[in-house]
């Protein structure tokens, strides 16, 4: 049996363990250190005029359009969110398009409309871009890369090492909706509109938490690999762990139903417009109240606590038992057994 690692598998892109290993083994040894240290979602880089925060991300999704949005929304929101969770106010973004020969201009128009509307909605401007066309079969319709630049917001000192037992883990809304919308569309689960992607910017939620900035230890938007991947990443190699309460997890009914049909655990499924935040207990109610006052934070919950069980994420189930919440492995597949 060959090791699974000899060639790139789809699971290497899934945000789970294989993604993590790929970055650890192939990227960090070559490019690690400096602002890349600790692999933040965006890097804070010193410039002569002061620090700026810089990030980049590429977007591939099948299908290109899904309930709740399309790849154009994702490409703007994703980069805005990477800046926001690093405590930056997003300002400028780039838009790089790779288009497949034969792509419908109507579809491209809808994607670009989405990118325009999303950037207007986020208060960011697309200031540079690029377009390439590749032969049929060399990409899947349209791939997008966006880079983003933002101003650091004062007050946030985000560092997973500052997390302590007793801290609270907050989620800004229902988990796994984007992934379920895409998977349901891909596997023909839904005939009527079913789960809807949560694609949205989170920077206003970050701004809403800013008055509590000194109490905030860490923020992340749980994209590929979902909340399970983010939380495992936070506790990995640290002296603390996380204990979630199943009864407190916010899930949308339709996403839960679709996950049940496909045999998936929503904790391991992607969001594209949610924020996970770790803060001390004193700031919990203040941040939750500030979030719930906004439409995108209406279903915000405290989903668990940091405790001293080093390096593990656990779930107290509705039955009163406890189990491990592991890093998702990679490719999310529907199963029948």
């Amino acid at each position: 049996m060959k090791r699974a690692h000899d060639t790139i598998q789809l699971a290497h892109g899934g945000g789970g363990l294989l993604s993590r290993n790929l970055i650890r083994d192939e990227i960090v040894p070559r490019f690690g250190g400096g602002p890349l240290e600790g692999l933040p979602d965006a890097a804070r880089v010193p410039m002569e005029a002061g620090d700026l925060v810089f990030t980049t991300d590429s977007y591939v999704v099948s299908p290109i359009e899904f309930p709740g949005g399309n790849i154009g929304h994702l490409a703007v929101h994703g980069t805005v969110n990477d800046l926001a969770v690093c405590g930056a106010r997003p300002r400028w973004i780039s838009l790089g398009l790779i288009l497949e020969e034969g792509l419908s201009l109507d579809l491209l128009g809808r994607v670009l409309d989405a990118a325009r509307d999303a950037s207007a909605g986020c208060g960011v401007r697309v200031v540079t871009g690029d377009t390439k066309v590749v032969a049929r079969g060399q990409c899947d319709g349209v791939f997008i890369n966006t880079s983003g630049v933002g101003d650091p917001m004062p007050g946030f000192r985000l560092d997973p090492a500052s997390i302590r037992a007793g801290d609270c883990i907050l989620a800004s809304g229902t988990l796994g909706d984007h992934g379920m919308a895409v998977l349901s569309a891909r596997h023909g689960i839904d005939i009527r509109p079913g789960p809807t992607s949560d694609t949205a910017p989170v920077h206003r939620l970050v701004e809403a938490a800013a008055p509590f900035a000194p109490h905030v230890r860490f923020m992340r938007d749980p994209t590929r690999g979902g909340a399970a991947a983010v939380l495992n990443e936070i506790v990995d190699g640290r002296a603390f762990g996380a204990l979630l309460r199943e009864a407190d997890l916010p899930f949308a009914a339709q996403s839960q139903a679709a996950a049940e049909l496909l045999g998936l655990d929503l904790l391991g499924v992607a969001c594209e417009g949610r924020l996970l935040l770790v803060c001390d207990d004193a700031a919990r109610e203040g941040i939750l109240a500030a979030w719930r006052a906004r439409p995108e934070g209406r279903r915000a919950r405290c989903i668990g606590r940091v405790d001293d069980r080093a390096g593990t994420v656990r779930l107290e189930t509705v039955m009163g038992g406890r189990r491990l919440v592991d890093v998702p492995q990679g490719e999310v597949l529907p199963r029948i057994c």
């Binding site: 049996m1 060959k2 090791r3 699974a4 690692h5 000899d6 060639t7 790139i8 598998q9 789809l10 699971a11 789970g16 363990l17 294989l18 290993n21 596997h187 023909g188 689960i189 009864a247 009914a253 839960q256 139903a257 049940e260 049909l261 496909l262 045999g263 655990d265 069980r309 593990t312 656990r314 779930l315 107290e316 189930t317 509705v318 039955m319 009163g320 038992g321 406890r322 189990r323 491990l324 592991d326 492995q329 990679g330 490719e331 597949l333 529907p334 199963r335 029948i336 057994c337």
Partner: protein, 369 residues
């Protein structure tokens, strides 16, 4: 979710746990441990997902049985599918099979190397794939136990009716009762009772378990897959043991009729006939599988492509066989969580979401609870 949530989060959980504990005490005079085999991988998975092993009384053990179709699939079957993909055939499969290790590679690896592998939620998707590309052969990986067999075998009927000529099945269907006989025949195993699979039973009915209760003295309790169903089922088993009874008890009547589903069984009967089958870790068991009847040979991928599915080669040191039979716990395999992980599995029990190694790795590792 109607008829789901009520069986999941309920104020009855605490008293059922207490009842289970009390029944456990009533059995404390028995020597040794009480070994309950949950035959079905979905029970294994649900027990892990809800942390139910935490709630078992001391000395009551829940042992995972051979009821995970992916886990009992021999590497030779995966090899045959990869061989077909190499000949330019589209392989349509349930997502469960994608990572299962063959002798030297998995379907996911074959896909990365260019093979056309399509993941289907329903077997009907394979028919759509075949109809969409009439010039290309499509082979559906027909694995599964009684629950899955009729839905998959229905493909033959659909293909015939819709005149889809480029679809065939690579059949490796398996039956639960022969596996239970094999488990009981193993002198190294001492199973006190069976927690029987609700959805298999919905097809077979309760009669198939009678010999195990009547002749072998093993309580057989059919249970659903929600956590309260499982707790209730375990209470039923411990109560029988405490009273010294052994009967077939159906505690999942909302989905499993005592008579089973005669329509599904008629579909199985029409297209399939019993045959010996090779079970990973157990070996060849007579009449333990179903294969396509000769008159449907056109839909039989083995015959259509002149292929013989062999046993294949298992990874040296892999103890999936013992794990499948409940002889060993996953953590007792030296490869567990070391050479063999869900990201890079060498044995099928680590692949299937309901394989006992995967369940154990995913939910119960490092004493992390």
């Amino acid at each position: 979710m109607k008829y789901v949530d009520e069986f999941r989060a309920s104020p009855a959980a605490a008293p059922l746990r207490a009842r289970l504990g009390r029944l456990g005490e009533a059995l404390s005079a028995r020597p040794g441990t009480v070994n309950i085999m949950e035959i079905c991988g979905s029970h294994t998975m649900a027990a892990a997902r809800y942390g139910l092993r935490d709630l078992l009384p001391p000395r009551v053990r829940l042992i995972s049985g051979p009821g995970c179709p992916v886990c009992v699939t021999p590497p030779g079957y995966v090899d045959a599918a990869i061989e077909l993909a190499g000949r330019g055939v589209t392989i349509a499969t349930f997502g469960d099979m994608l990572q299962v290790p063959g002798s030297s590679s998995s379907l996911a690896q074959a896909r990365a190397a260019g093979a056309r592998i399509e993941v289907c939620y329903s077997p009907r998707r394979a028919l759509e794939l075949a109809a969409a590309e009439p010039a290309r052969e499509v082979v559906f990986l027909a694995i599964g136990f009684e629950t899955t067999i009729a839905p998959v075998a229905s493909l033959v009927d659909l293909a015939a009716r819709e005149r889809v000529a480029n679809l065939s099945l690579l059949v490796s269907f398996k039956l639960v009762p022969p596996a239970l006989r094999a488990v009981l025949a193993d002198p190294d195993l001492s199973i006190d009772a069976f927690l029987c699979p609700g959805h298999v039973s919905a097809i077979t009915g309760t009669a198939v378990y009678e010999p195990f209760a009547r002749d072998r003295g093993k309580p057989c309790v059919i249970a659903g897959f929600e956590p309260l169903d499982i707790l209730f089922g375990l209470c039923g088993i411990l109560a029988q043991l405490a009273e010294g009874r052994a009967a077939v008890e159906n505690l999942y009547r909302r989905a499993a009729r005592d008579a089973g589903n005669p329509i599904a069984r008629a579909v199985m009967e029409r297209f399939l006939r019993p045959a010996a089958a090779y079970w990973r870790g157990i070996g060849v068991l007579p009449e333990s599988g179903l294969v396509l009847r000769d008159e449907f040979a056109a839909y039989d991928a083995e015959k259509r492509f002149g292929l013989k599915v062999g046993a294949g080669r298992e990874y040296p040191g892999c103890m999936c066989g013992d794990v499948i039979k409940g002889k060993r716990l996953p953590a007792q395999c030296p490869l567990f969580a070391k050479r063999c992980t869900p990201a890079d599995p060498v044995g099928p029990c680590m692949v299937s979401a309901e394989g006992s190694c995967a369940a154990s790795y995913k939910y119960e590792r490092k004493g992390g609870r």
